[in-house]
């Protein structure tokens, strides 16, 4: 993901507060795919992610006029999405270890034969290992490794101290490592060498 220029971000926030539709479109274009990816992998269900995504944006619009001038968009948006998912879990008394992965409507976009051979099995293993982690570890990895938030920003999103987040990340890494066999890690190294 591309880091958002802070000046541009502050300008977007000011325009959002004034109710400018173009500013909203820019924020939506930048964050909608990221929020959906986060919610889909957090909930492991595409249909739930779609519902939560809609609710997230409705909350964004409702709170936009009261935004602080110095708000950081990514932590704010991911906090809303994450809290909605937490509420959803509480309302359904959901166990984090519930459903099988239902992330794609049918299959992911058709990969090339090379990509399929090289990356398919590895990605599947990583995906399954990630999905097998409990919620607090999965969200920590999703926010930092996939979404590029700093550990401090991820701590804000999850409502914990930066130290707690660092511990969670460390624990999440070791849990993930335990669930991936050594060949998976080797495959990552090979892939990084051969892929552009």
């Amino acid at each position: 993901m591309t880091p958002v220029d802070r000046g541009f971000e502050l300008d977007l926030i000011a325009r959002l507060k004034r109710g400018e539709g173009d500013a909203f479109d820019q924020v939506f274009a930048a964050f909608n795919p990221r929020l959906f990816n986060f919610l889909a992998r957090l909930s492991r269900r595409r249909d739930i992610a779609e519902d939560l995504l809609e609710e997230t944006w409705l909350r964004v619009v409702a709170h936009a006029p009261r935004l602080h001038d110095d708000t950081r968009l990514a932590p704010w948006l991911f906090t809303i999405a994450r809290n909605l998912y937490a509420s959803y879990c509480r309302s359904r008394l959901l166990d984090y270890e519930m459903a099988a992965l239902q992330l794609w409507p049918s299959q992911p976009a058709e990969p090339s034969p090379f990509e399929a051979a090289a990356a398919g099995e590895l990605q599947q293993r990583v995906e399954v290992a990630l999905a097998s982690l409990s919620g607090i570890y999965r969200e920590a990895l999703l926010l930092v490794a996939l979404e590029g938030l700093t550990p401090a920003e991820a701590a804000t999103v999850c409502g914990v101290t930066p130290e707690t987040m660092r511990q969670r990340l460390s624990r999440a890494r070791s849990l993930l490592a335990r669930r991936l066999d050594a060949s998976a890690i080797s495959s990552v190294r090979v892939l990084k060498e051969v892929l552009p």
Partner: protein, 71 residues
């Protein structure tokens, strides 16, 4: 991304996962709906009427009390 994360094979493996992408049609519909709501926030007419009604009734009551006191 920080350099330490690049050194971590596990984090790299995570970063390489293909993104789960939202349905484009749904996304566009959602964007348009939210944009419209941002540009034209719902006007709380009932709340306005309620506060005006309470104000008017209170003024009338105060006026009646004042008349009683004057008599």
């Amino acid at each position: 991304m920080s350099s330490s994360r690049h050194e971590d094979a596990l984090m790299r493996a995570l970063a390489m996962l293909p993104p789960v992408v939202p349905n484009a049609t749904h996304a566009d519909r959602l964007r348009a709906r939210c944009r419209a709501r941002l540009e034209r926030p719902p006007h709380h007419l009932s709340a306005d009427l309620e506060s005006k009604t309470v104000g008017a009734v209170s003024a009338m009551y105060a006026w009646q009390l004042l008349q009683l006191v004057i008599r």
